[in-house]
């Protein structure tokens, strides 16, 4: 039965040990275990009651003085006398039999077990080999004498063959030979060549012929074991590169498009997975990161074809075989699984588009000054479209069918181009300038106005553009207008082309021409610029003038302009040429930088400036609130400067303040909102005056201000006040009275002393029964157990009693303390009046000691005894003992301390 149930029963008043509680009514099945003396294995056992037992059920973890961790005859030691380690015995006769002492000889079974466990963890494969290979052998020669055994172990290295190797050996395989049927000398030579050609790719196909001619007859009579397959040496990976990456690889190499660099011998087995001699390279073992051999790998170490073809014995991949000139059907497969046509070989290298485009086919010579102009092509296409349908169909068909997808990607056709090829109506493209948003009519009108306004001033420009009313003609330079105001603003604002000084200069020139109608600045296309380019450039300027003009005052205050606009890396076509730097503009930039720096410095440290100027004082001083640790204040003997309200426990504060504060705030609310019933108002105002009187000026006031939201609702409650039933009223008033008194009591001191008046008031209520019981039991305050009281309380079963009960308990404790002191006093007064003055302190000390003893006894009892009730029996009777200690004191006249009197006795 769980302790919870027990406790519950105890609370109800049922004695769990009584016969009635344990009466068994079970007729069928297994009865529940009796309440008493049953042990629930799952029951929580406190820490000190828990026992540790080892796997044999022996108790572990004795106390330090009873044997330590594990001790005693029945725990680990081997004999009654204790465990003795093996001792070294010198004897001439047994010298040969003597083996060197191992650490294991001095270990007990637990240590050995530990070692066994750890060994398992270290290396399981090694263990397997040892057990399979060596043990079987070693078991055979256990009868051999130690001398031979040591010799054997010294001369012969322990065989660590795997099971596969051992089977192979039984089948006649020797170390150093290859695996497979025996072969003729010719084949073997061929194999040697293959192997060497694998390392040296420069070997020609003629080599085997010349080698074969030298065969001697004698040698041809025998068959030979095939050559061993070279051991794959896996380099240890001690760097932090990715798998398959070698330092110094270029991007293309790392992508697997390595030219024909090193021929791969076999499928690259991913490092880390070991292969047995017979084990084929599985799909899992292959190096998935080896991109080069994806298509060409053959999964067999020995090609399956060599059985049918006696002449060729191939070791290696199909690539090499085909390279040697034999026209054999290749076993390669496409990625989708279809076989490659005979005579064709899969390329090991995937087509890399970059290479295909850039390096394989050199770019045609581009005439100087040539500019890509897709429109020319489009116009051609459009002219073609007008040619009969068959032609058009051809054209349409071609690119889609011929070009593979990769080419499509790189061929430079945009969707628009493709659409135009296909004859689709082009989608409305992104507008280039503000003018595109306008209707044609508006545009014309604007241009008319502009032309009429500025025709005399912008003569240089207007000369070049024929007449703006004619509408945009791409072949003429066209300078879009910008509002002079905007141009002015943009001139002073952000420089969008700061990275390109030439452009920036042109931009400022454009702005100047636009800003000042009388300016003589003219813009002409650069020598290498076509007119359309010039036009687009001008449009760009016009747009950026609108975009980058500084914000108006109200907005500008909220934003700060970025120092640099990041447009991403600027791609420069063609070879790198040192750019022409405009001298003056750079100077400008440098000077502005310097200005900015100076400005920054200035803004950075007004404090520094003040210090430099010697203007120490308020400029160099700053005061911030700082919270010293409470302990620090204590050590310095100071009061905490700002005792944070968090640390004061919230329960007392809320209980004491909320009642009083709420009405006050509600009253203030209600005062603000006019029209309340006067009677209610009067009531509240009286409580209010008291509470505000106490709370004004304190830091609590501030805290209460923060509670405004809750108070709002409460104020509403008082506004919509209706007379409640009498008992509610009474309850409110009763609590109010108490709280207000508390408040007054606590107003001077903020410490939560609110409990004191409560206890004091309840202390007046006599509780004779409980105290009497306690007196009989002689319960010290430390071992006070509330069970007795509870029963008493249960007899008067009322719900409201719970609070009172607690108060009672407290009071009982108090009483008990007082009583104890009083009893000591009585004893002493009985003996000598002089002692009374000094004694109480001493007595208290003694009492404390005694109490401690009691608690110790109690705790010990709790550890040793399962039954709680026995504790009560165990308890000594403290006051009498202490009294006896006092009695020991001689009743002489001397009112001195013990020592002095003893000395006097000694003299006598």
């Amino acid at each position: 039965m769980t302790s919870r149930l027990k406790r519950k029963l105890g609370d109800i008043g049922v004695d769990p040990s009584s016969a009635r509680a344990n009466e068994n009514f079970c007729l069928i099945g297994t009865p529940l275990p009796p309440l008493e003396k049953s042990r629930d294995t799952g029951e929580f056992v406190p820490l000190w009651k828990q026992e540790v037992r080892d796997e044999k059920g022996r108790r572990r973890l004795h106390g330090a003085f009873t044997g330590g961790f594990s001790a005693g005859y029945f725990n680990t030691v081997g004999s009654k006398e204790g465990w003795t380690p093996q001792t070294f015995v010198s004897s001439r006769a047994d010298r040969a039999k003597k083996k060197a002492a191992r650490p294991e000889d001095f270990m007990d079974d637990e240590d050995l077990q530990d070692i066994r466990d750890s060994r398992k963890i270290v290396d399981t494969t090694d263990e397997m080999d040892l057990t399979t290979g060596k043990q079987a052998e070693s078991q055979d020669d256990t009868d051999a004498d130690p001398l031979t055994a040591t010799l054997q172990s010294a001369m012969l290295p322990p065989s660590k063959d795997s099971i596969g190797a051992r089977i192979l050996k039984k089948m006649g395989w020797r170390v150093g030979q290859g695996i497979g049927p025996r072969i003729s000398l010719k084949q073997r030579r061929l194999q040697d060549l293959r192997a060497s050609s694998m390392t040296d790719s420069a070997l020609s196909t003629n080599a085997p012929d010349t080698a074969l001619e030298e065969d001697s007859d004698e040698a041809n009579k025998h068959t030979y074991a095939p050559r061993d397959t070279p051991v794959l040496v896996v380099e240890r990976k001690d760097n932090s590169h990715g798998l398959g990456y070698q330092p110094g690889m270029s991007l293309n190499d790392s992508l697997g498009t390595k030219g024909g660099g090193g021929p791969s011998t076999a499928p690259n087995i991913s490092s880390g997975s070991g292969l047995g001699a017979l084990n084929d390279a599985d799909e899992d073992d292959l190096d998935v990161y080896d991109g080069g051999s994806v298509n060409t790998r053959s999964r067999l170490a020995y090609d399956a074809t060599d059985d049918h073809d006696g002449e060729r014995f191939a070791l290696g991949n199909s690539n090499l075989r085909s390279a040697s000139g034999h026209n054999l059907p290749s076993s390669g497969k496409y990625r989708d699984g279809t076989a490659v046509l005979s005579g064709f070989v899969l390329s090991g290298k995937p087509i890399m588009e970059d290479r295909w485009r850039v390096s394989w086919y050199p770019l045609p010579d581009i005439p100087p000054g040539w500019k890509p102009d897709p429109k020319r092509v489009w116009s051609q296409i459009q002219s073609q479209e007008q040619i009969p349908d068959s032609n058009k169909e051809n054209f349409k068909g071609d690119p889609t069918t011929v070009l593979p997808h990769g080419k499509w990607k790189t061929s430079g056709f945009s969707t628009d181009e493709r659409g135009s090829i296909l004859g689709e109506t082009p989608l409305p493209s992104a507008p280039r300038s503000v003018f595109d948003y306008m209707s044609q009519k508006d545009r014309d009108r604007l241009k008319n106005i502009a032309a009429s306004l500025h025709s005399p001033s912008t003569a240089g420009i207007s000369d070049k553009q024929p007449s703006p009313t004619l509408g945009p003609i791409p072949a003429t330079p066209r300078i879009p207008r910008t509002d002079p105001r905007i141009a002015h603003a943009a001139l002073s604002g952000f420089k969008p082309f700061a990275t390109d000084p030439v452009k920036q200069a042109r931009y400022t020139a454009y702005l100047q021409s636009q800003a000042d109608s009388s300016s003589t600045v003219t813009l002409e296309p650069l020598p290498h610029q076509s007119i359309s380019e010039f036009n687009s450039e001008m449009e760009e300027y016009a747009q950026s003038a609108i975009v980058f003009k500084p914000m108006s005052g109200a907005m500008a205050g909220r934003f700060t302009t970025a120092a640099v606009v990041e447009h991403g890396p600027k791609v420069i076509e063609g070879l790198h040429t040192p750019e022409f730097n405009d001298g003056p503009s750079q100077d400008n930039a440098a000077s502005s930088d310097a200005e900015n720096k100076a400005k920054d410095e200035k803004e950075l440290s007004p404090k520094e400036n003040a210090a430099r100027m010697g203007m120490y004082g308020p400029l160099t001083r700053e005061s911030v609130p700082w919270q010293p640790a409470r302990l620090l204040c204590k050590r310095f003997g100071l009061k905490d400067p700002n005792p944070e309200p968090k640390t004061e426990d919230p329960t007392t504060q809320s209980s004491s303040t909320s009642f009083s504060q709420d009405p006050s705030s509600s009253a203030s609310d209600s005062a603000l909102a006019s029209g309340t019933s006067p009677a209610d108002y009067g009531i509240i105002s009286t409580t209010d005056s008291g509470s505000t009187g106490t709370s004004t000026g304190g830091p609590r006031d501030l805290a209460n201000v923060g509670l405004g939201d809750e108070d709002d609702t409460q104020g509403r409650d008082t506004l919509t006040y209706e007379r409640p039933s009498v008992d509610v009223f009474k309850a409110i008033f009763a609590s109010d009275d108490e709280d207000s008194s508390d408040e007054e009591g606590a107003s001077g001191d903020k410490n939560p002393n609110a409990i004191n008046p409560n206890t004091a008031s309840v202390a007046a209520v006599p509780s004779s029964v409980s105290s009497a019981v306690l007196d009989n039991q002689l319960v010290g305050p430390s071992i006070f157990k509330p069970t007795f009281v509870r029963r008493e309380a249960r007899t008067t079963t009322t719900n409201a009693d719970s609070d009172k009960k607690e108060q009672k308990e407290k009071k009982e404790k108090k009483k008990e303390k007082r009583k104890a002191i009083a009893s000591f006093m009585d004893d002493e007064t009985g003996e000598s009046l002089n002692l009374v003055v000094e004694k109480p302190q001493k007595k208290r000390k003694k009492e404390k000691v005694k109490e401690k003893k009691e608690t110790r006894v109690q705790s010990k009892g709790s550890t040793t005894m399962d039954d709680d009730d026995e504790m009560w029996v165990e308890k000594p009777a403290p006051p009498s003992v202490s009294a006896s200690a006092d009695v020991k004191m001689p009743t002489s006249i001397a009112s001195e301390a013990l020592r002095g009197r003893k000395r006097a006795v000694d003299y006598l």
Binding site: G614, R621, W626
Partner: protein
């Protein structure tokens, strides 16, 4: 000048030379009370206790593994604290000559340690820019509080009954007012190497590495007086008040001891003062009660006691 008008002239007669240290002497402090004894800490990893009037070495306290940079004596002369390069504070029992506590926790060398008035709290300022306040009453070895406001190494600390004043290399003098719960930081602009308040704690004498000593009003941070003439640009030198706070005394990097009148900030005679140490004077301290005695410690390995000719 007449003694009634001007301040008492500085004690410039060499009384004894304490030359037990085998390297630079970093700090020399008077004991508390009648201050008959001197504690010096040096680069040779020892703290030495001297009789100031006889010049005899009484005791050597050797437990530090690195140089000793600071020594602080408790109010009752029963214990003292020392710190230095080994990043932990050693609290010593003077009579037994053993360390009673070793307080690790700082991340860098500890430039300064200081007791509060009843030696219940120990403050330490370190190169790691923190000030740690250690509780010497409790058994716990964790600091009560760590003051992390400084941005650079703490060079000096002074504690009075309500305020902890620190000076740091970041150019600030920070006063942690425990009573008000306020941190007042005064920007000096140059690394502060010493802060010495007057008895009434109304003013602070701030030594900084611009060869300038400033008398700062603690209430508003204004500079009341500036004392210049000496050379102090790279070493920790310490200016202190002369007797009855009528003068300001500072040993500089050239080994000269300068003295100024506190009120009019004029250099007292002789000007320039004689060179009394061959190397930088690391510490200058005036006797707390005796008008005619002061000590200087120097990197030349000596600590000198100066007295008036009698």
């Amino acid at each position: 000048m007449a003694p009634s008008r001007g301040p008492l002239p500085l004690a410039r007669n060499l009384h004894v030379t304490l030359d037990g240290h085998k390297g630079p002497v970093n700090v020399a402090r008077y004991a508390k009370g009648s201050a008959k004894y001197i504690l010096t800490g040096g680069q040779d990893r020892t703290v030495r206790l001297w009789n100031a009037s006889l010049g005899t070495e009484i005791k050597v306290f050797a437990a530090h593994g690195y140089e000793v940079l600071s020594v602080a004596v408790a109010h009752d002369n029963a214990k003292f604290a020392s710190s230095g390069g080994d990043r932990s504070i050693f609290v010593w029992d003077v009579t037994s000559g053993t360390t009673t506590r070793r307080l690790p926790g700082h991340m860098g060398k500890i430039h300064v340690v200081e007791f509060n008035e009843d030696a219940s709290v120990l403050a330490s300022g370190s190169f790691d820019s923190t000030v740690r306040l250690w509780d010497l009453r409790a058994q716990s070895r964790a600091p009560i509080q760590i003051l992390e406001e400084a941005r650079d190494a703490i060079q000096t600390i002074h504690i009075n009954s309500t305020t902890i004043t620190t000076g740091s290399v970041d150019g600030y003098v920070r006063a942690y007012d425990l009573r008000k719960g306020e941190l007042r930081s005064d920007y000096i602009g140059h690394p502060v190497t010493a802060v010495v308040p007057t008895q009434d704690s109304e003013t602070l004498l701030v030594t900084s590495l611009d060869s300038h000593i400033r008398l700062i009003d603690t209430t508003n941070g204004k500079v009341l007086n500036g004392f210049t003439g000496h050379t102090n640009s790279s070493y920790r030198c310490r200016a202190c008040f002369g007797h009855s706070e009528a003068t300001v005394v500072c040993g500089d990097e050239n080994g000269m001891v300068w003295a100024w009148d506190l009120l009019d900030a004029k250099l007292l005679q002789p000007n320039p003062p004689p060179k009394v140490h061959s190397k930088v004077i690391t510490w200058t301290e005036h006797h707390p009660s005796d008008a005619g005695e002061m000590i200087t410690s120097s990197a030349d390995g000596t600590c000198k006691v100066w007295r008036h000719p009698t």
